[in-house]
């Protein structure tokens, strides 16, 4: 079994895409298909969930191909269930491979989570205990996906509402950033750092978002995600829900600034998946990210990767 290993990518470089490194992308939404073709907006790349384009034909697939003919694409999977023991669902992986061959995305990613067990596929990104056993499971699955696709992928930190501590006898020894670092080292994958998820998880599980960012290995991040969340306050305290349904929060912009300062320019995506606004509103949100990315490029103030 050949593996896309750490030693095959250049040292200190995430397996991302250099040409995208200064660009900001937005989610590709079917409601914007026509506006994109008519107005040809200045967008660095479009990102889509491949699971929404696997049925073989129709206007959805055409919309993705149309965007792909004009812009770089990123395919951001939600269904590989990399944290399920046993090999990744080969049918689903086969469909992903066909779509990757069809639209030739610059980036391919999925999440540090699980969604499949006992033949049931839950439409959510469920939390994992960060044990050695789980590291083995996720590493094997990431390697398998990379072998089948013939390329390195990026793995995203999930938004957490629970942080599993113990998997029966095995007490969790790693925090999420250590786990991700070990995963990148073992498989050669990169990290998709979702800043909003860091913020949401920090609130919901009692972590320090700044410490989290400081724990992310420089040079391992191939893409950054930004999105909006909603706040629910009740007897259980304040819960942040990662609903991708509004503008990016001020605190998340602040974390993004810090992340860029530490990591240098990284391709950045502004996600908006529920209550999708006009293309113009989404572009305006992307412009804010673009301005911050430009600032970092101009100042050259980011700490250089070792």
């Amino acid at each position: 079994m050949t593996t896309v290993g750490r030693n095959e990518s250049s040292p200190g470089r995430a397996p991302g895409d250099d040409q995208l490194s200064k660009s900001v992308g937005i989610s590709l939404k079917p409601v914007h298909f026509d506006a994109i073709l008519e107005t040809r907006p200045d967008v660095g790349f479009f990102e889509a969930h491949p699971e929404n384009y696997m049925q073989g034909g129709g206007p959805m697939v055409q919309g993705l191909r149309d965007a792909g003919d004009r812009y770089p694409l990123s395919l951001h999977a939600v269904g590989l269930s990399l944290g399920s023991p046993g090999p990744v669902d080969s049918v689903h992986l086969g469909r992903l491979k066909r779509l990757v061959e069809d639209v030739q995305p610059r980036l391919v990613s999925d999440h540090l989570s699980w969604s499949r067990t006992g033949g049931v596929c839950l439409p959510d990104l469920l939390p994992l205990p960060y044990t050695q056993e789980v590291l083995g499971v996720v590493s094997d699955n990431v390697s398998r996906v990379q072998d089948v696709l013939g390329r390195a992928i990026l793995i995203e930190n999930p938004s957490l509402y629970l942080c599993p501590k113990v998997s029966k006898d095995e007490v969790v020894a790693m925090n999420e950033t250590d786990f991700l670092a070990a995963l990148t080292w073992k498989t050669g994958c990169g990290i998709l750092l979702d800043i909003n998820n860091v913020y949401v998880s920090a609130n919901n599980t009692g972590l320090d978002a700044m410490a989290y960012l400081a724990g992310i290995e420089k040079g391992s991040v191939g893409e950054i995600h930004l999105a909006g969340h909603k706040t629910e306050s009740g007897p259980a305290g304040t819960i942040l829900i990662d609903d991708h349904g509004g503008p990016v929060a001020d605190d998340v912009w602040d974390l993004y600034r810090l992340a860029l300062k530490r990591l240098g320019p990284v391709p950045t995506l502004v996600e908006w998946d529920t209550d999708v606004p006009s293309l113009g509103t989404l572009l305006a949100e992307a412009d804010k990210a673009k301005a911050l990315l430009q600032q970092v490029l101009l100042s050259g103030s980011h700490e250089h990767a070792a």
Binding site: E51, S115, P123, Y161, L162, T205, G206
Partner: protein
């Protein structure tokens, strides 16, 4: 059995049933309570799947109203967990579920309308294919026609109901705003059955109405019966040549094979 497998089995069991809880000691403290965290995941899953059903069956939703639809969707999701991560493929059993759903007995045409919506949904995302030219059969010697088997366009779906589900669907398209409850009794809907072929031979979804005999004929062809046998089985009193010509012009076929007689 791995500890991860046990953790995931327990998690899904707790997620799937509102009465189940997760053990507090299994999760890090310092954040929101375990029950509150589980409730978020539970809501993501159930509300997410109900949303998928609502997007797939908008006319059904408006026929029964949001509250009843939410109830039906909740009951369906509980008994039909998704087996694929491709959510566009979720909910194919919903028409059958509605047909057997006691609470929906007073709306007997509901499952038929759902079947039509499902057919349209599936036709929309089926792979593209070039329809067979209407003239293609002219090259086949007449004595071979009886053993000819058609290849159907991948988007073709058949829908049959004892209710005029196509007329109900069409009345909805013309008269209803999104999210408005749709009262069928306010429209002049003919009292008849519906036998339909739904497909997307070109860019848009098209529907062809079929007689009882023609529907039986197409049902046989679509499972691979040769033309001669399907003709004979469909009986007398209709014009099979005209139906065949209509299907060709419609673009229902992509090819044919001549089988052993």
């Amino acid at each position: 059995m791995s500890t991860l497998h046990e953790f995931q089995t327990g998690f899904v069991k707790a997620l799937w049933s509102a009465d189940e809880v997760l053990p507090e000691e299994g999760f890090a403290m310092g954040g929101i309570p375990v029950a509150a965290g589980l409730a978020v995941y539970r809501n993501n899953v159930f509300a997410g799947l109900a949303g998928v059903l609502g997007d797939l069956y908008p006319v059904v939703k408006m026929l029964v109203g949001d509250a009843f639809f939410a109830h039906a969707a909740q009951e369906f999701v509980k008994s039909h967990p998704p087996a694929s991560p491709v959510l566009a493929e979720y909910g194919g059993d919903f028409p059958d579920f509605l047909a057997a759903f006691e609470a929906a007995e007073s709306v007997p045409y509901l499952s038929g309308v759902a079947e039509l919506e499902l057919a349209r949904h599936q036709a929309l995302s089926a792979p593209e294919a070039e329809p067979l030219a209407a003239s293609a059969l002219k090259a086949v010697p007449e004595e071979h026609l009886a053993v000819l088997c058609f290849e159907f366009h991948p988007s073709v779906r058949l829908v049959a109901s004892v209710f005029p589900v196509d007329a109900i669907w069409a009345a909805h398209q013309k008269n209803c705003e999104k999210d408005q409850v749709f009262d069928v009794s306010a429209f002049d809907i003919p009292d008849r059955a519906a036998r339909l072929l739904v497909a997307r031979p070109g860019e848009s979804i098209e529907t062809m109405e079929l007689s009882h005999e023609a529907f039986d004929f197409v049902s046989r062809l679509i499972v691979g019966e040769p033309l001669g046998r399907a003709f004979t089985a469909a009986g007398d009193g209709w014009d099979p040549q005209q139906t065949l010509a209509d299907l060709l012009v419609f673009g229902a076929f992509t090819g044919f094979q001549l089988t052993e007689g």
